[in-house]
Symmetry: C2
């Protein structure tokens, strides 16, 4: 309401946004494009049918004015951000129900709530998201059939709203160290939840603050005087009628953060809070009525959820990056600055090679991440099907590659988005560019669901095992096949194939060097743990090299084998992007190529020349490429990146939304400034 009123106040009507008027530079760019952007959009969606589905879904949500903000959350107080977020989230859940009648699955929901659509609707986070993203999936994955029957129905119907409470003030990464206890009392057949220390306070779960009335709580299970490690429990947090905290439950929100301020992340502590025995999730381990503990057949069974989330993260990174690079590319086509040739008119800033270099590798990165995410998604489905059939063999490979992809994709995307933001100069620093918020969302992913350094060290651990196998002449799984000790690397030939081969050679070289460092460490008298710690900086580096080899391999493979149905014009552009991704990373890793692949100074110069050439080749298609991502203006959410390119009009329009601009003289003048101005010194 306020927003619409204020928007009328644009100081000069001529400078208002004109619907349908497209910036002439953008029009020219679109004419230059050498391929059919719709063909590429269909390819990205996975076919015309899926394209139509998406458009329909987007229309269903994004054309609904109830889901759009009139006032940007950045103008609101922290409290109002939550109010606004909760109101919209409740409305969104009603709409999800309509979708559900059309057969939505929990995985649909989870992907819908994250990703570009979810963050378009609730750009600052969704206080209800964890209900579908974690609470219901955990019930499904870890409840007995009886538990599922009882709880999942209540949850689907939103008769309870849940969250997932695992992380504590003192423990995130090391979940075995969690301190919350659930102690079984066979007399009352209840578990008593307790928070023995300050560091045992649950901390971070989304929606926990003032929103959820139930939670899956992860706690150390004690029965018959013995600790059996962490297990999940369904705990009621708030009264279903009054919403007041249950007796013994201490709950609140953790306060403002870098981003996601409507998420209502909370803290939670218990003072001996009882729950019935059947609220321990017992699909795997069980506690019998008399307190006897029955072990889970395998402790790997709960990996599924974790893996799913990591797969989704890689997909989300590609979506967020597509958004950021669309904003920056369109802005760079509209923005004109300086003189390249004295006396001539100001060029579009995208004509500067340094600007192409900042942006185009990240158009390519969207594809690189997308293809890796697709492969991971397929493998995830493959592996979960096999797990259901009792076959756990592929799990370590999935785990290893998911760990490093999670880390590398989140770190790369964060860097990419900041580069996009900075490439828009001062205007990228404006909240209305949507680049700050996008960064806030993305950088969180470097920490949650497995801190990146920890993730890379997990991959490194798998690589060391694979290396030992390779040395013993054993068979290797596909993603580490290059460690085969009999493998001959092809010599350098200044082609993209050589770069991909090079990354494998580098990874192999680094893995071998790490193995040697570990061995040297132990030989020098360090314990194996100390030796591991001493080598850990190099181990992280090796895991990243492994991941880069994987990503470039996937990318090239898709370009060679996954695009047969595309037109030649489009295939050419796709090949340019793949080449650019590979060359860009090769040039960022010249030390590795010089050290491990036998290239020389001239080769580096050739790579630089080739990179420049690729940037210039991609230049005329840059706007077409980001148009092909087909992101609606509501998803873009940016004054700089809308389809019509009315950049300056939208900047001014956004400024007029500020309450500071509502009156000619702000009340703070009388309250503090006037006294300063009148003071006689």
């Amino acid at each position: 309401m306020f927003g619409r009123l204020a928007a009328k106040q644009v100081p000069n009507k001529e400078y208002a946004v004109v619907p349908g008027k497209v910036n002439p530079d953008l029009q020219r760019e679109r004419k230059k494009c050498t391929f059919d952007t719709l063909e590429l959009t269909h390819f990205l969606d996975g076919g015309v049918e899926k394209y139509k589905d998406r458009k329909e879904r987007e229309n269903f949500f994004l054309s609904d004015p109830e889901l759009m903000d009139d006032v940007p959350p950045e103008l609101m107080s922290h409290e109002d951000q939550y109010r606004n977020g909760l109101k919209k989230a409740c409305y969104l859940f009603k709409k999800l129900k309509e979708l559900r009648e059309n057969g939505g699955t929990i995985d649909n929901y989870r992907q819908l709530l994250g990703g570009s659509l979810g963050s378009a609707i609730l750009k600052d986070g969704n206080p209800l998201a964890l209900h579908y993203v974690m609470f219901i999936p955990t019930l499904m994955g870890q409840g007995t059939p009886d538990q599922c029957a009882y709880w999942i129905e209540k949850a689907w119907d939103c008769r309870v709203i849940g969250t997932y409470a695992q992380t504590e003030l003192g423990h995130g990464t090391f979940i075995r160290g969690l301190e919350t206890t659930a102690t079984y009392n066979p007399k009352t057949q209840q578990f008593f939840l307790n928070s023995p220390t300050l560091t045992s306070y649950k901390w971070w779960p989304g929606g926990l603050g003032q929103t959820a009335n139930y939670a899956v709580v992860v706690a150390q299970l004690y029965t018959k005087g013995e600790c059996h490690g962490i297990h999940p429990f369904i705990v009621q947090l708030r009264d279903e009628k009054t919403h007041r905290p249950m007796p013994g439950v201490i709950v609140g929100e953790i306060g403002p953060k870098l981003g996601m301020n409507a998420t209502n992340n909370g803290f939670l502590a218990f003072k001996q809070v009882p729950i019935p025995r059947n609220q321990m999730l017992m699909k795997n381990a069980q506690v019998l009525p008399d307190g006897t503990y029955v072990k889970s057949p395998s402790n790997k069974l709960t990996y599924g959820t974790m893996m799913f989330v990591r797969v989704v993260i890689v997909q989300d990174m590609a979506s967020y990056l597509a958004k950021a690079v669309t904003i920056a590319v369109r802005y760079s086509a509209v923005r004109r600055q300086s003189e390249m040739v004295p006396g001539q008119s100001e060029p579009q800033i995208m004509d500067y090679l340094t600007q192409m270099y900042k942006l185009f590798p990240y158009i390519a990165t969207v594809y690189a991440l997308k293809f890796s995410a697709q492969w991971l998604w397929n493998m995830y489905n493959d592996v979960t099907a096999k797990i259901d059939a009792g076959d756990l063999e592929l799990l370590p490979e999935l785990h290893s590659i998911a760990c490093c992809l999670k880390a590398v994709s989140t770190a790369d995307t964060a860097t990419a988005i900041e580069t996009c933001r900075l490439s828009c100069g001062g205007h990228g620093y404006m909240a209305c560019s949507n680049l700050p918020t996008t960064y806030g969302n993305v950088t969180a992913a470097s920490t949650y669901e497995g801190e990146n350094t920890v993730m890379l060290l997990q991959t490194a651990r798998a690589l060391m095992k694979a290396y030992a196998k390779a040395q013993a002449g054993e068979q290797l799984s596909p993603t580490v096949e290059y460690l085969n000790r009999n493998r001959k690397f092809r010599p350098w030939s200044n082609t993209v194939d050589s770069i991909v081969e090079g990354f494998k050679q580098i990874a192999a070289g680094k893995v071998a060097a790490c193995a040697l460092s570990l061995q040297r460490g132990v030989e020098s008298g360090l314990s194996s743990e100390e030796a591991w710690n001493r080598a850990s900086v190099q181990l992280v580096d090796a895991a990243e090299a492994h991941c880069r080899a994987f990503i470039t391999d996937r990318h090239l493979d898709m370009v060679r084998n996954g695009m047969n149905e595309l037109s030649p014009a489009l295939r050419e552009v796709m090949a340019q992007l793949c080449d650019l991704y590979c060359v860009f990373w090769a040039l960022k890793r010249t030390g590795d190529f010089l050290q491990f692949c036998g290239i020389r100074g001239e080769d580096v110069q050739n790579l630089q020349d080739y990179q420049n050439e690729l940037l210039v080749q991609i230049r005329p298609n840059a706007v077409g490429l980001v148009d092909s991502f087909d992101l609606r203006d509501e998803i873009i959410g940016s004054a700089l990146g809308s389809y019509d390119g009315q950049v300056y009009e939208r900047l001014l329009q956004s400024a007029m939304l500020s309450p500071l601009n509502a009156k000619p003289v702000h009340d703070s003048y009388g309250a503090s400034l006037s006294a300063l101005l009148r003071a006689k010194y």
Copy 2:
């Protein structure tokens, strides 16, 4: 008020912050320190006298409760952030007046308002800062003696509050392209200011929105039908009594940003607004009453202010980084996580080599930047003294090194602060860690006062000139002396001297390669401008290499020659930090060392081993090193980084400040959530 009340509500009194109680891990760390932290603090301050002055100044400001926030700005609406900022800024100005009576100079003020003290008091920006930082200095630098006499007194007394309005919506970097016009009418002896287009709106000046009533406005000067380029004009924006905008003045604020939301950045447009002739600042160029334009003797005379600001930026980067790395190091000493050895207690996370690697190079970076900033400050004073005497010879060298140092220091610091933040895991994402705000302040510096890529290309331009001179056998200025074509680089010897020498060799190699690329470009038929653009990615890279050579050279020189009075114990630690900075960067640039310095794979491995060794050597002194920065808790402003290390207590205390936690059930439950929970699906 609210904050103090809410802080009482900590759910469990046992978990409240206890004044004076120091975390035992931090106590142990402090005992381990091998040097006298006070000795280092005195060295950093530049002597005991300056140390005492600083302590007194800090006490004057930071012990004043009026200047402390009860409610963190992150909880406030955008409008309240401004209200709060303005109130505190007015109070701060009153206190500055007291300082002035003790002989404060304008340069004191400027440094006081930025830097760690300024950002401790107004962490989200100061709407009055530009009055002292830009408005008064511009009057002083560009006004005639008469103008100075009239305006500076008014300004010092705060009878007017000014800002500096240069950047426009459509022009930042390219100031010659500014569109605002000031047209002289000899009949009325007035200039008429006008904003002919939307893109000519002034955009960004701090305090412009609702605060300043005057501004120095940079506009294209027209007289006698001719344009004479941009000139500065004093323009009244608001009535001195009512604070209402003057007729024809359109003014407001530009809306929320990534950070600095109390700065009140504004927009400004004119509809033929008249000002008297004597409000053009005429120290250099003049317009006579009849409209005759009298040129400035040199257009380089206005460089001074720009240079000063860049020097201050480099200093500020060191301060911000000292703050961030103090937070992260203290937190890493307090935080314990995981098992390094199964069954043993959880180690401090600072015992992980990967954590040392994330943090210690940035302790070293504080020194590296500080020493470069000192050199630059001395050179700045030298050059300005010479300019006053009419000698402009050193100006290009100052300009060249200031440009690249501005770019490299801001970019490095932004990366460093994000690394520090991420090293604190999830808790680093909390606003109360103060790391997000610190990043917001620092990353802005990559764009303002000269966009970083543009800055590096200016240095590159100077390097190309120097290279041509070198080829012609002409004499070179000290910072580019290594380009001398007769210089023999010493061979690699696995020492820090070799690394510093190596960076020069790399810079020389890259500069030569750029010159060759430019030549090849022109020979292939490109215009010199096109060839420059084609080589620009490499030119940026060469400028950065040049800067790295400069920084490492300064750093090593200080360790060798600037620390003779320090104790041996401290000198040893200083040398370790210098070595670490050099090795860290050498390992980030192995490609360059392999390509230009003739090192081999074994040398890289040696550097890695040496880096690991240095990290382990520095480990026991890490807390002592950050303690030596001697940053008061008010400057740290972080739940994670306070001197006493009561990390978890402060996190909980901060959470309790959230208004969402004021009542057991938030009003949004009744407003939206209860209907969802009760809906029957």
